[in-house]
Symmetry: D2
């Protein structure tokens, strides 16, 4: 099941048990963690955007260093810096995901909790290997 499919599936599943008496509950796990569009799941999103803009600038800088055939060791030093910056962003986002989406799903329990845990474990495995 793709994320998109999961998204659709999830909303279908939840359509019939929205709690109209308690609108705050109508946007629980599914919405806040699958379609985040307006839920601000990322704390200090601006800080992440600034970090990503800097990383984007660094990759542009790397292309320029290669274009100008700058000293190879300097290029490699810069690649190490960009890789570390990316890993640090990934770790921050993973922490937010664990603290919000996974925690919410675990509290809700059931298949959603299983799915969220498995997804997180697979993401951690990918990050450890990359």
């Amino acid at each position: 099941m793709t994320t998109q499919q999961h998204d659709a599936q999830h909303h279908a599943d939840h359509a019939d048990h929205v709690d109209f008496a308690n609108p705050a509950l109508a946007v629980t796990v599914g919405d806040a963690c699958v379609n985040h569009a307006s839920h601000g799941y990322i704390h200090d999103k601006d800080a992440y955007l600034r970090r990503m803009r800097r990383i984007e600038g660094q990759t542009r800088g790397l292309a320029k260093m290669i274009e100008e055939e700058q000293y190879c060791i300097d290029i490699l030093t810069q690649v190490s810096a960009v890789t570390k910056a990316l890993q640090s962003v990934a770790l921050g986002l993973l922490n937010e995901h664990l603290s919000h989406c996974v925690v919410n799903a675990v509290r809700e329990g059931g298949a959603e909790a299983e799915l969220k845990l498995t997804e997180a474990q697979q993401a951690i495995a990918r990050l450890m290997r990359s």
Copy 2:
């Protein structure tokens, strides 16, 4: 010593044993491996530039995913992909550096060979840790 300083230092060191009878040799190690400006040390530079443009596009895509608060796991999957692409570029450049600059320095011998080896070993250590 910065790369710039090293560059200057290197050219000063070599000033008194330039082989005027064989100008092609006068630009081997120092020029080809410290100031590459016109020596094409990177085989298939265009391929590296294409890879870096793609990586730059991916980092821009990551910023957009965060901006739109797309699903965290999808963002992490993309970060893993970008990290792998960067590591692959680094490995390619390191291989070129070892095959050309380090090999040339080793053939020339002396302090330059030591310096080039130490630099390469430090770059490998940084890449292994990042």
Copy 3:
């Protein structure tokens, strides 16, 4: 013991803290996830022990390869294999920890949940860097 059973057990435990009539119950979440001595939190512990014995054997083999000054590249290939085997054990144990201790703590909530999440996040960060 299933998570559900454990959960129920846990709440029973906390009513009067230590149940002297039922020593098996004197183990709370804290105990089950800090001092596991008899609680089998690791699924298929024997499989993990077999993997660790193999890794131990591989490190002994590495010492022998160095002792005999075997070909350096062969030693490095073996180090890569042992590192991968260790990372794989770590990932398996982390998954068990997330699925049991962290999930239980999250269901219980409060400071324990915070602590368990923070600990897990720090462990993930260390694994990503090593």
Copy 4:
């Protein structure tokens, strides 16, 4: 080609151009770097052996921690430490290999130099991925 085959192949290749006038050269690249048995290519071999004994002890300790079902996070912290220690040994051995075997092969030139470089590059790639 296995290391053993390579070894045999290598000795066959070199049999007909041993320099009898200069016996010191007859044991350089081939013997010192493929069959190291008595050539001490590893500087301070005892230090490497001590490090490997410590790593072996740490892996035995890990098995004991799992056997006793010690706290998972403590086990993971120990796995990170062992992985770092292994990577550090690998980096040290790689540096010795580059400084001795690869440098000697490069000075000798020809197919052996190519082979040694390619082997080293592949080992670096494996270490970066593990």
